[in-house]
């Protein structure tokens, strides 16, 4: 009730304050992880069609060389993260829990592992479509975690207009600091990336949204905006899930994306700051997306760090480099604590969408006794898309999925705020995820039948 006193900075309505837990790695410089002996590059580490493999077993590959090409528009290129030999192409464990066809490359122990084809790439005289193709073949996906191919969002549909580019430097997931460190250490690449994206989109202005728990990043980027560019850094109140596209657009521009529509329908394109830095780097010296910054953190890891990790590096090598797991570690997540994916097996590779590795011990395990819903309204106050999670939870329990449609379950962004605040410990978002998947399956079946 008294929260209006602190509402001086921009933000979105509702949401939660889970505490940021970022002190473990906030001030640690990005360090380079040594190359592993064997890397596993899944051909599907993005939303969309798996990439089409271009190499065969026994091929010699150079660091940065393309090894798989896009198999359609919603697909991307994949590159060799090390110089070495293709050892196998087979089904391997993927952090999502599935088995995915992957290219396994053994490192050439005698290679200096320099990038094989260093050159600044021409962009000023290229057309938007040519630039989009370069980004697609460069293998770029949203590095915030969703891993949606970057170039797809840059292709403005017929009749739509992209007036604003919002750079997502929010990093609202607790514990994670990879975007924060990239903003501090690669601001020149970020502004080069912004220039290129503005050219592709024909956008008039850019905004960089950063929460006020990163005052150094806000100050640095504000200072470094080139004088010839039309844009600003927007300091935002720290609140989860502000990094969700819809919430960020609401916070920065006070616009709402209509239900079932995309940001482009309100003339906005949102890209993650790390992705933009990567694009800037590619145009600066030609390196496609073959490595990324990952925060390895949590009470369960001995030496938390922000590491620059080649895509495909085994998780076990990363954990070993950070001093290994503590004895009482019980959960290892890909991503942050609010939306991250728990791993059942540590034999998985780091992906393009891996923003963090969070190691939690017995003390943080949140399995608690469930009580009946007392309709206390906390979930209603937390939901960033203004759903009624209490009602949806009751409907999910009785498996009334049609009823859930009426209460807009498909608009749920699965941020987990409802589960976080529920004093009765009801697994709300967990039930909504299952319900949404079942409803989608049902709809797909209905479409098939009518076709």
């Amino acid at each position: 009730m008294l929260s209006f006193l602190s509402k001086t900075l921009k933000t979105f309505r509702h949401g939660i304050h889970p505490g940021d837990y970022k002190d473990l790695t906030r001030d640690l410089d990005i360090a380079r992880l040594p190359f592993s002996d064997e890397l596993t590059i899944p051909l599907s580490q993005h939303l969309g069609a798996p990439s089409r493999c271009l190499v065969k077993v026994g091929d010699k590959v150079n660091r940065g060389q393309i090894i798989a090409e896009p198999a359609g528009f919603v697909s991307i290129g994949q590159h060799a993260p090390v110089t070495g030999t293709v050892k196998a192409i087979e089904m391997k464990h993927h952090p999502s829990g599935k088995m995915v066809e992957s290219v396994i490359i053994t490192k050439d122990p005698f290679s200096p592992q320099t990038f094989y084809n260093e050159h600044a790439m021409e962009w000023e005289n290229l057309s938007p479509d040519e630039l989009i193709s370069l980004i697609q073949h460069g293998g770029f996906v949203g590095l915030g975690g969703a891993a949606f191919p970057t170039h797809v969002k840059l292709k403005t549909p017929e009749g739509k207009n992209a007036r604003f580019l919002i750079v997502n430097g929010v990093e609202c997931e607790p514990y994670l600091t990879s975007d924060h460190r990239v903003m501090l250490e690669q601001s020149a690449d970020i502004f080069l990336g912004i220039r290129i994206l503005l050219k592709i989109l024909g956008a008039e202005k850019f905004y960089i949204g950063i929460e006020n728990n990163k005052p150094d990043a806000i100050a640095l980027l504000t200072k470094n905006i080139p004088s010839d560019m039309n844009g600003e850094v927007v300091a935002l109140q720290t609140k989860y899930p502000q990094g969700a596209e819809k919430m960020l657009i609401e916070a920065v521009l006070k616009r709402e994306v209509p239900s079932g529509k995309l940001p482009i329908d309100v003339e906005v394109v949102v890209q993650n700051s790390g992705t933009i830095a990567g694009i800037g780097m590619m145009f600066r010296f030609g390196q496609p997306l073959i490595e990324r910054v990952v925060t390895i953190t949590g009470p369960g890891i001995n030496n938390p760090a922000n590491l620059l990790i080649p895509i495909g590096t085994p998780l076990t090598d990363v954990l070993d480099y950070c001093g290994g797991l503590k004895e009482n570690t019980r959960q290892v997540l890909f991503g942050g604590p609010m939306m991250g994916a728990p791993q059942s097996d540590l034999d998985v590779p780091i992906l393009k969408g891996t923003s963090g590795i969070l190691c939690l011990t017995d003390e943080e395990v949140t399995i608690k006794e469930e009580f009946p819903c007392i309709r206390c309204l906390r979930c209603v106050d937390a939901c960033p898309v203004y759903l009624n999670p209490s009602r949806l939870g009751a409907l999910a329990k009785t498996r009334d999925y049609e009823g859930m449609l009426e209460y807009h379950v498909m608009d749920c962004v699965e941020c987990g705020s409802c589960s976080y605040v529920c004093p009765s410990n009801i697994p709300l978002v967990q039930r909504f995820r299952v319900s949404k998947a079942l409803l989608r399956e049902k709809q797909a079946k209905a479409v098939k039948k009518s076709a």
Partner: protein, 336 residues
């Protein structure tokens, strides 16, 4: 890598705010304690016995139900039965026959809660269901008020505390009228300050509007109750009563009298805000609160009874599902 740890698979989120439902209930109970102490101070051991008996009845009934139906979880753990018992006691007169109080506690739990499927499924506020049962079954006993005193009269047994079940009570106890009854039947207004600070006759929780208001402020600041409900009640009472005063200032009671007399404070802050039986939307809570306030003044002024808080809340409880249905919030980016 040495030995891999035994990994636990659960679904996100992996962070959780720490305060659970029992903790919320405990906070509401804590905030009720000053008013309970005040009731014991003013009405002595009889009040203490009523409080003890109603909570014994509610907690005992829930426990017996849990054991006899082999429930997997112990629903006493959520403290709601204890809270129901305390709230029921606050609505009863000191010197109320203990056997009736016990019966009221049993009914509150069985008809108010268990019959609907336990906490969270009940439509009406359980404590008020118990009170409504007692009101219709024992209309005389529940409107027999003992006079207040200070702590020197602590050990004095008031009214009909130890009346034997189903035996007609004697008529020798001293009684006093509540300010509302005074006004309704005799046309006498009690000084608002006396009601506000407790020196008037009434139910256990009717006499200390001040302490209950303080508890309400605490619960609001800590976000345990939705302040829109009591705010709605107060606004409706003030507006409606002021309107009546404009028509005839002698015939109708002043708004401040309405606000601080009877069970209005207790009802608005502890009963109407019961999350289970009140609406789930903020807009709904406003409607709910305004409705309660309006009905209270309506019943008090034009009804047969001097007090109407209980029926006002129960009536609004009954329309809560409807209010919920018509006040669903607009979702983010909703396309009409």
């Amino acid at each position: 890598m040495k030995t891999a740890p035994k990994l636990l698979l659960t679904s996100s989120p992996f962070l959780k705010q720490q305060e659970d439902t029992p903790a919320v209930m405990r906070q509401v109970i804590y905030s009720l304690i000053p008013a309970l102490i005040a009731a014991i101070y003013f009405f002595g051991i009889s009040a203490l016995l009523v409080i003890f008996i109603t909570t014994l009845a509610t907690v005992g009934t829930e426990r017996v139900f849990n054991i006899s139906t082999k429930q997997k979880t112990n629903s006493l753990k959520d403290y709601s039965a204890l809270l129901t018992g305390l709230l029921l006691a606050m609505t009863l007169p000191p010197g109320f026959p203990l056997w009736m109080a016990f019966l009221g506690g049993v009914i509150a739990i069985v008809l108010g809660k268990l019959i609907f499927g336990g906490i969270g499924s009940n439509i009406f506020n359980p404590a008020l269901v118990g009170r409504a049962f007692l009101q219709s079954s024992f209309p005389v006993a529940i409107t027999t008020w003992s006079p207040f005193s200070d702590f020197s009269g602590f050990l004095e047994i008031r009214g009909y505390t130890f009346t034997i079940p189903f035996v007609k009570a004697g008529t020798d106890a001293t009684t006093a009228a509540t300010p509302l009854a005074h006004f309704k039947f005799d046309g006498i207004t009690t000084d608002t300050a006396n009601i506000f600070f407790g020196s008037s006759a009434g139910s256990l929780g009717e006499t200390m509007a001040f302490l209950i208001l303080l508890a309400g402020i605490y619960l609001t600041v800590r976000n345990y109750i939705n302040w829109r409900i009591p705010a709605g009640v107060f606004i409706a009472v003030i507006l409606f009563a002021s309107g009546l005063q404009l028509i005839d200032a002698d015939k109708f009671a002043p708004p401040m009298f309405h606000l601080f007399s009877g069970g209005l404070m207790l009802g608005a802050i502890f009963m109407a805000t019961d999350p289970v039986s009140s609406p789930i939307t903020h807009k709904g809570c406003w409607i709910f609160g305004l409705g309660v306030g309006f009905l209270v003044v309506l019943i008090r002024t034009f009804g047969g009874l001097p007090e109407g808080v209980m029926y006002a809340i129960l009536l609004m409880n009954a329309v809560t599902p409807l209010i919920n249905r018509v006040t669903q919030p607009r979702i983010y980016g909703e396309v009409k």
